[in-house]
């Protein structure tokens, strides 16, 4: 798995940040959930491919999971780099269902075992995923069928 131009991540709030492979990350999330990190505060995706190239689907995305433990009052961040495919965590965290739908809509990352992976913000006939670096804004993209 190639990692291009990694940015330095700063833990401003004292969170512990872990970088893991995709399979290990799911296991770690499962472990942490059993240890009491039951709240998934946010799930963020980021395209790591360089902006200049037109290679279809950079296929190099970083996912960041921010977890919270209400008993110990601790935060934890887990990062993985994936190839436009990841196992869904909606069985572990109920709030992840919409988060993953949003990432599929805007980035095109497919989540396995998701109950309803569909576009959430954009129209179903929309072409492309707008937050990818290789997405080019068309002149017009109108909605039909009203």
């Amino acid at each position: 798995m190639c990692r291009r131009k990694r940015l330095e991540y700063r833990a401003f709030w004292g969170e512990i940040i872990m970088e893991l492979e995709a399979i290990q990350a799911f296991k770690m999330l499962n472990n942490l959930k059993n240890k009491g990190f039951i709240t998934l505060l946010s799930l963020m995706a980021e395209d790591l491919s360089p902006i200049e190239t037109d290679i279809s689907g950079g296929e190099n995305f970083r996912l960041t999971y921010t977890l919270y433990n209400p008993v110990l009052k601790e935060f934890k961040e887990i990062q993985t780099i994936v190839n436009a495919e990841m196992r869904s965590v909606s069985t572990l965290f109920k709030s992840a269902k919409y988060d993953e739908m949003e990432i599929y809509d805007l980035f095109g990352i497919k989540f396995k075992n998701h109950p309803k992976l569909d576009r959430i913000f954009l129209d179903k006939n929309f072409v492309g995923h707008p937050l990818r670096n290789n997405y080019k804004m068309p002149e017009t993209q109108t909605k039909k069928g009203y």
Partner: protein, 371 residues
């Protein structure tokens, strides 16, 4: 809609329906009078605010942020700027910190008042609704004098605030806080002592602590279901660790406790405003000269997160920069996006007539959820 049989009826509550008010739609399946399934349709007011953050200079992006939630403009611009300030390791001057706390707490009052006022309108208590809106209008007038805008103010800048607040405006805010006690009694009479209000809200839409945490609910909605989690105390930003306040917690988790907590929060915000005014009135002449051009903002390379306790819950802003004038990625965590998911669970088994009550009690703003 496939599950519709002889006994079940499908109802569409679409954006032009009066109880949704904002742009959000629901597909409801009714079993007699009771709701058996509900699906929400998002995206009617999707503004592409995250895409805009990558395409524009930071100075151009600042006014657009406030359109995420038009009831809480100050919170969103603070969330974005504090992430950038942490990235560039800039510390705010004390004067700017006091002004930011003052304006944000005033903004929290307007947001809660508009929520309660709109709910009074749903209950058909029109005269009560206008009492709430009148009080909100007084603060909006103050915002207009401070920044020039009533709803989108664009008052914060990178490293401080745009201009000083003069003594006349500060005394006007002081007058508002001193008259507040009498007005608050009237508002309490309309809500906590109103039999219609109690009847519609008590023991309805109960959310327990475990569910609220699993669905990532924060803010007033979480404190109403029994967990005292306030990010002003948990991860203190600005001056909140120096100021004295305590956010109340209730264990019932029903609609009434959510509305009642919102009323109590208004009281706390007024006390915080008083504490800020004490310092500001004695240090009125202090100046914060800022000569940063908006087009010149250029943070250091790296990534940062900011936590802000908004009126609807936790606002998070992730910022990733490579050292240029444009950002590489901006990610917003908006609390209403998560409240909609628990609405789908809390409504099952209840009457359709309760839809508006529970929808308003969670304080969902669809513009915020859609981004």
């Amino acid at each position: 809609m496939r599950e519709v049989t002889k006994d079940k009826i499908a109802v569409k509550i679409e954006p032009n329906h009066p109880i949704t008010r904002d742009m959000i739609g629901f597909d409801v399946i009714l079993d007699g009078e009771k709701i058996s399934k509900i699906n929400s349709n998002l995206g009617f007011s999707h503004k592409g605010i995250e895409k805009a953050g990558q395409d524009r200079y930071i100075g151009q992006y600042l006014p657009a942020i406030e359109k995420i939630d038009y009831f809480a403009p100050f919170f969103y611009s603070h969330a974005f700027l504090s992430a950038l300030e942490r990235l560039s390791e800039i510390e705010l001057p004390l004067y700017a910190q006091y002004v930011r706390v003052l304006t944000m707490e005033l903004n929290r009052i307007t947001s809660h008042l508009s929520n309660l006022g709109r709910f009074m309108d749903v209950l058909n208590c029109r005269s009560a609704a206008f009492h709430f809106f009148n009080m909100q209008n007084e603060i909006l007038n103050i915002f207009e004098k401070i920044s020039g805008g009533r709803i989108s103010c664009n008052y914060y800048v990178f490293g401080g605030v745009k201009n000083n607040i003069c003594r006349e405006i500060l005394t006007e805010i002081l007058n508002f806080t001193s008259k507040f006690k009498e007005k608050f009694k009237i508002l309490q009479g309309f809500t906590k002592e109103n039999p219609v209000f109690l009847d519609r809200t008590r023991n309805k839409g109960i959310i327990d602590t475990q569910n609220a945490l699993e669905y990532s609910i924060t803010g007033v909605n979480l404190r109403a279901s029994g967990l005292n989690l306030d990010f002003r105390k948990e991860k203190p930003y600005l001056l909140y660790d120096k100021l004295e306040f305590h956010a109340p917690t209730v264990f019932e988790g029903d609609c009434y406790s959510r509305f009642a907590l919102r009323l109590d929060e208004i009281k706390i915000s007024v006390e915080l405003v008083k504490q800020c005014l004490d310092w500001l009135l004695s240090n009125c002449e202090e100046k914060c000269n800022l000569e940063i051009k908006l087009s010149d903002i250029c943070p250091k390379a790296g990534a940062a997160v900011s936590f802000t306790e908004g009126p609807r819950g936790l606002i998070m802003c992730h910022v990733v920069s490579d050292g240029g004038k444009k950002l590489k990625r901006v990610k917003w965590r908006t609390p209403s996006f998560y409240s909609i998911q628990i609405l789908e669970k809390a409504l099952i088994g209840l009457n359709l007539a309760d839809f508006a009550v529970i929808f308003d009690s969670l304080d969902i703003n669809s513009s915020e959820a859609d981004r």
